[in-house]
Amino acid sequence: MLTVKESLLGKTREELTQLTIEMGLPTYTGGQLAYWLYKTPIDSFDQMTNVSKKARTALSERFDLGMKAPISESVSTDGTKKYLFNAGNGKFIEAAYIPDGVRHTLCVSSQVGCKMGCLFCMTGKQGFQGQLTAGEILNQLRSIPERAKITNIVYMGMGEPFDNLEAVMKSTAILTAEYGFAISVRKVTVSTIGIIPAMKVFLENSKCNLAVSLHTPFEDERKNLMPVQNVYPIKDVVETIQQYDLGKYRRVSIEYIMFKGLNDTRRHVNELARLLNKVNCRINLIRFHTIPGTPLESSDDATILDFQQALIAKGIVTTIRASRGQDIEAACGLLSTKELVKKKRENVSDQ
């Protein structure tokens, strides 16, 4: 019978140290493992040259490093790359590499599929298929060729990060730890639709940035777009954020997809300004990448620009996110959904 070995990727230095102690290896082996896992591109135990051969053999008998290369990549004319990873059992996740001058951002997935059912989201159409471990989240960075170039990480890929809080918190801890990938907390952003209890844990225990998907300040409209509004209303999400002292450097951004005729009017500008009155945040306006079967359309560029100016006039820092990778299924979830559908068709034709 084939046994699946436990992965080392995704373990903290403390956990690595603990397991080496349990195996009767020198205490410092844990630190050595963290170095090889998070600071180097090695992909086998044999390459860990400062770890004794005996320790390497013992470790390889019990553990797997946990790195899995992407199964495919799509490259956009603008340099954006989309990586597809096999998440096992015929399921797939995506990560997007977005270069922009000196900034190299990686957008990672936190779940396979998603439970949240937002009307505008392609990932939601897959339903929920499983949680990613901290190792599987980190693998999206660890196993791509641009690994060493990455300056920023955003948890804006497939899934709702705060529905997988433990793995997300652990992965951000390793991303930002000195022994880990040593990325500054200011360069890591976790995005949520506003799951309040988990958001509180994040605000209290992490120093990474927070992004909140808002999309309309009006309760009834938001309910139609995002079922989570029934459980955690945006008003409560904003009030919760207000309760925390975020310090000078920690950033809260509000994600706002612009939908034609739905959330792009002056009434929305006024209500957004009222809702966010006491929150130190910036608003990121996002063009909507149309997905199949949705009744929504993107606002046009002139409307988006006008909306931005109106918010700036209200004193709110507002940016428009550049659309990237439009020629390679930019909308999150499109690529993996296509792969999933292909797999299902293959299975049906095999039967």
Partner: protein, 219 residues
């Protein structure tokens, strides 16, 4: 890792297995609520609370929670072992997936029927049509409640088993085959993300304005 819902201790007064692996757990109602709301449940004050819809009526003395055992989860296998007088930690009710007197379709899969049972037991069943999906004939929880009042407006969709008066197929198949869905009525959806998203797409395809579709998801 502790999440931040405030929890209070209640005592279980009853636990019934209404179908294999599916339970209704009851405790004395400690607060007022609106039919359709959820509560957080946990085994201990510091545990992560999971959300469950209340299945009892607003004026009932007891709160009923409908749940099935998730073998991969921690809470539900533990809950299934609870006996009368055992303790459970519960949050105050919250949420706005609530019903009203207007004409509407209540569409649920599995234990997603719970908020509609609550609305029904609160007296909001006039002008309502229930479409309940389940894998077999034992999946139609609370059918004794719905059947006598709703008659032909209570539709059970069984994906794996045939039965008298039962539609054979998933909810999504039923909706696809159904022509002339009223465009001006509300459609409430509750269940797995997959069912909610698929059913919503079909309703939109059939011309239902998306602001007439109200969804509740499990997470």
């Amino acid at each position: 890792m502790k999440t931040k819902l405030k929890l209070s201790k209640v005592k279980v007064i009853r636990q019934r297995e209404i179908s294999p692996g599916v339970f209704v757990l009851s405790f004395i109602r400690p607060w007022d609520f609106t039919a359709g709301q959820v509560v957080g449940l946990a085994g201990h004050e510091n545990d992560e609370a999971r959300l469950y819809s209340i299945a009892s009526g607003e004026l009932d003395e007891e709160v009923d929670i409908l749940y099935n055992i998730n073998p991969d989860g921690k809470l539900t296998p533990w809950m299934a072992q609870l006996n009368t007088a055992d303790n459970l930690w519960v949050s105050e009710p919250f949420g706005s997936f609530t019903g009203d007197e207007e004409k509407a379709w209540w569409i649920a899969s599995g234990t997603g029927i719970a908020p509609f049972a609550s609305m029904f037991r609160t007296g909001l069943f006039k002008n309502k049509k229930i479409i309940h999906g389940g894998k077999d004939l034992q999946s139609f929880y609370f059918h004794q409640l719905f059947e006598p009042e709703l008659n032909e407006n209570y539709i059970r969709c069984s994906s794996r088993e045939n039965g008298e008066g039962i539609y054979h197929g998933r909810i999504t198949k039923y909706l696809r085959e159904h022509s002339n869905l009223p465009l001006d009525e509300k459609y409430y959806l509750c269940g797995s993300a997959e069912m909610v998203v698929d059913a919503r797409d079909i309703l939109i395809e059939k011309g239902i304005p998306f602001d007439n579709i109200i969804s509740e998801i499990y997470f």
